[in-house]
Point group: C2
């Protein structure tokens, strides 16, 4: 069928349908060139494989069982890999896709189990601290005042310890952690990957234990998400799971699954966790993540069930409302509650932003310890008088959710709780400590809802179940803050009931919509506040007609098709930041692109002296630091290279590297003509993303969002005229993005 079409087209008699013969000639030429370069450089025999595997700039979607290069399983010469290889081969005796699948499943199960365990340990430590503080502030040691003093001092000590942990181990541990994960999921892995270091895990857990144990009203689900993501990242560094690390798409899917696990293990809500990780994703969700996230969260949920069935830690109680048919009138009340919660949620976000702004403006140099100390003192003073205020918020939430009348707290105390906690949470969220916002939101929402419900009960009588309103308000206030509809599902799973499904969903939707009218979600606000790189949807109405030519960097370093090795070497030395270079012919027409590594090998094979003298040549060219937007092109690549160097010491699986060295030793004798003016042909082993100058910026933005390349080359009539990086686009959009 395609054959017929081609013939049909071939018999077209129009003059205008030309450029065909030219193009075919060019194609043949171009094709020969490629094979020539293959022949002349045996090191690139596996070039295409390598391109697919490591140097592929785009995020590649993978097919189950199809994507993994077989060599991960077939060539494992080290003792460890040989053992695991034999294990897999003997025990499982399955074809490659299934082996790949087995590895993946093992990763997911380990991720779920490990994350849930770590999260439980953190929770347990918090509980131990709380019990300890209750004990020392009890009447055993003296009166009310002595109790208060010991409560106050421990609070101060723990909170200072919390911020010290962040300062000493990793400042990336400060805050919720979800903004950083959003940044990574939107494609800024290379810019935000510092958040995934092991020491950040330590800082986050220790800081979180101390902060909550010290009585600050912060939540643990954001930090838990962060913890799970770090665990996922660190797991993927293990040699057994390196295939995950190498596949950019799979890596992102695993971060998505880890987000789900983190949230699911905080609440025992597997479905809600998966949905939440969907909503955390910036713009598009790879559907294949879904089952992976589910598998991981279910593993986590099993551990959660096992651990939280023990009476060690406070857990959410299951509710048992007997709401029958919901009256349409009551639905209106729920909708109204949703609107109120949406307003309250956006007020909360506004306050957090304002507090942060005032702090940055008025107290820019204030020591972190002074800040945390003051807030911790105020929190201790305010929370000490009523016992339920200073205990685990889950106890208060359980009380507020209960279908019966309030037992411990009076409505006045609920109101007090609301009034005391709201400003405290607002201030605490911005402090330099690990601080989540989900649980405090649940608490604030349920206070509000309980009051609303009690009020309605006074008006309408016993038909109203105030606890039900507390549940709905908890979900919808959290939605108002985070703009995540999955809060509804999380609350269903927390309470174990689905009877109030429709009212909750209605209220949550209204809160979502109302909140979005006023401002953006807390996480997006935090991203702006902390200048985390992020690629959101662009507001096209604000940059309506901008073209690529207005944003691109016109001065683009390019390499001639036939170049002198010396010149190539100079370029490599001068631009250590770039991981790949565009290749043009002598008229400036773009032919393709070449990887840095390929170029180095080329230089090494052609004139190895250059490489030896490279230390002496280092001062050539302006080596001053490039701005970040150029630098980010190299970051990821470099780490990949570092890794492969490390791994080739221990596990020489990277056949490319071995070939390189082989070529080096062999060709040194042949072409040892330093400063030979002979031109070598530069191979083109990367197929770059091309855009034309007239392309609308919105369109290029879309391409960057979807394909996640690091940069795109701009061509005009075939000639290379510029380059465009992710950050150029973000910067361009940021002027409008930051205006609230």
């Amino acid at each position: 069928m395609t054959e017929t079409k081609r013939r049909n087209l071939e018999t077209v008699p129009l003059d205008e349908v030309q450029g065909r013969h030219d193009s075919e000639a060019l194609n043949l030429q171009g094709y020969d060139t490629v094979s020539l370069s293959n022949l002349s450089l045996p090191a690139f025999g596996q070039q295409s494989e390598a391109v697919r595997e490591v140097d592929f700039d785009f995020l590649e979607a993978e097919q189950e069982g199809g994507n993994v290069p077989d060599e991960h399983f077939s060539e494992e010469p080290s003792v460890y890999r040989r053992f695991t290889g034999l294990l897999v081969r003997w025990i499982f005796r399955v074809p490659t896709p299934l082996r790949y699948f087995t590895h993946l499943t093992m990763f997911l199960v380990i991720l779920g189990v490990l994350s849930a365990s770590v999260i439980f340990l953190v929770d347990l430590s918090v509980h131990v601290l709380e019990v300890f503080r209750i004990w020392i502030s009890s009447d055993n040691f003296g009166g009310y005042f002595v109790g208060f003093i010991s409560y106050f001092l421990t609070a101060l000590l723990l909170c200072l310890l919390s911020t010290f942990a962040c300062q000493a181990l990793g400042k990336e541990a400060e805050g919720s952690g979800i903004p950083q994960m959003k940044s990574i999921l939107s494609g800024f892995y290379d810019r935000s990957k510092n958040s995934l270091k092991l020491r950040v895990l330590g800082a986050k857990s220790l800081g979180l234990i101390c902060a909550i144990g010290g009585g600050l009203p912060v939540g643990w689900e954001g930090p838990n998400v962060h913890i799970a993501c770090i665990i996922s990242h660190q797991l993927s560094r293990l040699p057994f799971f390196r295939f995950i690390r190498r596949d950019k798409s799979l890596r992102l899917q695993m971060i998505g699954a880890a987000c789900a696990v983190g949230l699911a293990s905080s609440f025992g809500a597997p479905v809600g966790g998966v949905l939440y990780s969907l909503e955390t994703t910036a713009s598009f969700y790879i559907v294949r993540t879904f089952w992976k996230a589910t598998a991981a969260t279910v593993s986590g949920a099993l551990i959660y069930k096992l651990l939280y069935d023990t009476p060690l830690v406070e857990a959410f109680q299951k509710t048992s409302f007997d709401i029958g048919v919901v009256d349409p009138t009551e639905l209106v009340l729920f909708a109204l509650l949703g609107i109120l919660m949406g307003c309250a949620g956006s007020l909360f976000v506004y306050c957090v932003h304002q507090v942060y702004r005032i702090r940055m403006k008025k107290l820019p140099l204030t020591n972190r310890y002074i800040l945390v100390g003051i807030v911790a003192s105020v929190a201790a003073i305010l929370q000490y008088p009523v016992e339920l205020f200073r205990l685990d918020p889950r106890m208060a939430i359980n009380e507020l959710f209960s279908p019966e009348t309030l037992r411990v707290l009076s409505p006045l105390q609920v109101f007090l709780l609301l009034v005391v906690k709201f400003p405290l949470v607002v201030v605490s969220v911005g402090l330099p400590i690990p601080a989540g916002v989900f649980v405090p939101s649940f608490l604030l929402g349920s206070c509000f809802g309980r009051l609303y419900g009690e009020l309605l009960k006074l008006i309408f009588g016993d038909i109203i179940v105030p606890g039900g309103y507390a549940v709905v308000a908890a979900a919808s206030f959290t939605t108002g803050v985070t703009r995540a509809l999955s809060c509804a599902v999380i609350i269903f799973e927390v309470t174990g009931q689905l009877r109030h499904l429709v009212p909750t969903l209605v209220a949550v939707l209204f809160a979502f919509v109302t909140g979005n009218i006023f401002n953006r979600s807390l996480y997006d606000t935090l991203i702006i506040m902390k200048n985390i790189p992020y690629m959101p949807y662009m507001r096209k109405d604000r940059t309506p007609d901008m073209k690529v030519s207005q944003v691109m960097i016109r001065e683009c370093i390019s390499i001639q098709e036939y170049s002198n090795p010396g010149t190539l070497h100079e370029i490599l030395q001068a631009y250590p930041e770039f991981s790949c270079f565009p290749v043009v012919n002598k008229d400036g027409y773009l032919l393709g692109a070449v990887k840095r590594r390929t170029l180095s090998t080329l230089v090494a094979t052609q004139s190895p002296q250059l490489l030896m003298n490279s230390k002496l040549d280092m001062d050539y060219g302006d080596n001053e630091e490039f701005p970040a937007s150029s630098g980010n092109m190299a970051d990821d690549e470099e780490e990949e290279e570092d890794d492969s160097v490390h791994s080739s010491d221990t596990h020489p699986t990277a056949s490319l590297n071995r070939n390189d060295s082989y070529v080096k030793t062999k060709d040194i004798n042949e072409s040892s003509s330093y400063s030979s003016p002979s031109l070598v042909e530069v191979p083109k082993d990367v197929s770059p993303l091309l855009v034309t100058e007239d392309t609308q910026l919105g369109r290029v933005h879309f391409m960057f969002v979807m394909l996640m390349p690091k940069c795109a080359y701009v061509v005009n009539g075939g000639k290379l005229t510029g380059v465009l990086t992710r950050l150029d686009i973000v910067e361009c959009g940021q002027s409008t993005f930051t205006t609230n």
Copy 2:
């Protein structure tokens, strides 16, 4: 900061960094050209707007409130639009984003309410038919035999009517409908949009009523999804909602939301429906769809609640199991059940495929009426003896799910139900009638699970609740068939219980994994069986090293930068299938692309005689039909054009069209020089997707999946060497895709 960077780069002393001045010169030239074309052709004053709005090949992601061109709201000269405009402006008095949002929300609410109502009406009609048939086959009219005869005859009549409806009104109504929606969501809107016609809605509803009413064991959720999608599509054709139709991304999001509504309204499961629509999406899910789908399903769920609370129709009963802590041993039993259900599900898929294959091979010419008649007769004969077999499957499912011991059915009868229904369902699913598979799967799964549970109860005693196993098995068998994990959530919402959350999720995951080991999901199988265009993940291991140059069509029609209007006209006449043409300079370097409409206007303004003589010229050039892969480039565009012509009669909002005619009448007097040899410059108003020849096919496939363009131009060193369409890629992958 960018400024500094540019200066840094400007002072680079290397010779290799050249092509900069060239490129800038070229850029200026190119830019002037564009503005020149703007000046010479006032019709293209709004060119950029038009490009963004209609002719943008890519799927564009939209920003809430940012995307809608304001003219939808500012220029509404017709009475209807003026009225609605005033209404919106006066009543709401809100800024544009909010107005856009209001429209969108109205659309979603109407979609939810309308779909749920239609689905309820279909269900009600089925119920009426069932009651009628029970009445006429009861003992009132004679004995058992007379009852059977009337049951048999009505079954035959209704089933034949069902297939007649499909034949007469639209063959697209046959089958589940979900495969077509998957095709549309994977980007083949233009190839599958026939399924969204209004007459298909009629065929689908009528056919469904008759098929289920006629006693065939088919489900209604697939057809319901299809119905909701048709409603969404038809709603978007209303002038008030045209902005949805114009935005490709929004259109897809609405199809996604409609899928969610269709499923949610079948079961009253809003969350499950949203999740299901996520899993129906081929490869990536636009996160913005999430709240839209939720809003629509919640509106639908409100209606569902309202309508199904009436005792008109059979509904799923809420269960109330008292499963406490799930024993780890029991969890193993659930996991085993999941594995069994996965095997059974994939067996089901295999049987459906084999039955279809045998039918196609052995009985290719068999009349559809004979086929349906035979199956209907067999079904009637087999199902008549036991009353519960021939009633609404929901009654049987409620019985099987019940926590108490079985009342109506004995275990033997459950076994019989399984044995009778399994082959019947397998055969019915492939018949030329509307046929879903969810509800029969629920039924088969719950039969199996109940038997499994009863068996376990015999072994382990009263600790086992067989109804719980029926619930879990229903979800996991359905997952085994559809490979959708959301079945778990749907079953939670159907039964209203979350207590068996973890066991269900575990079983469903095991079923998913087990099923995927054997074959692909029923819907993917149906897609292959019925040759529906679909763009799934490509199995990279099977086309590992293919390059674009091996697949592309080398003979690409291109237009010279400076062309004779006569030649342009000839090209337009010769290739009515193409919606845009690449523009090259005289050396064959690609400069950009031009829309067909722009070209026609250019020809019209330059030499209007050509247009008048066009009817005479029609026989010029080979006008034979092109294969589909070229044709699909024009389809969508043409419909868009048709629409705008229609709308400009009634609501002349398309300012471009008006300008066109203005230019036409004005310029006829000026440039009436037919066959003038003067060359005109072709404007380049489309920025095409460019790929290089060496690009790996997997990468281009990924670009097609993510960006959803219709075609990509292949360049080599700047020269246009070929074109690549969606279907070329799919065809290339299909040779491997169809092998099971």
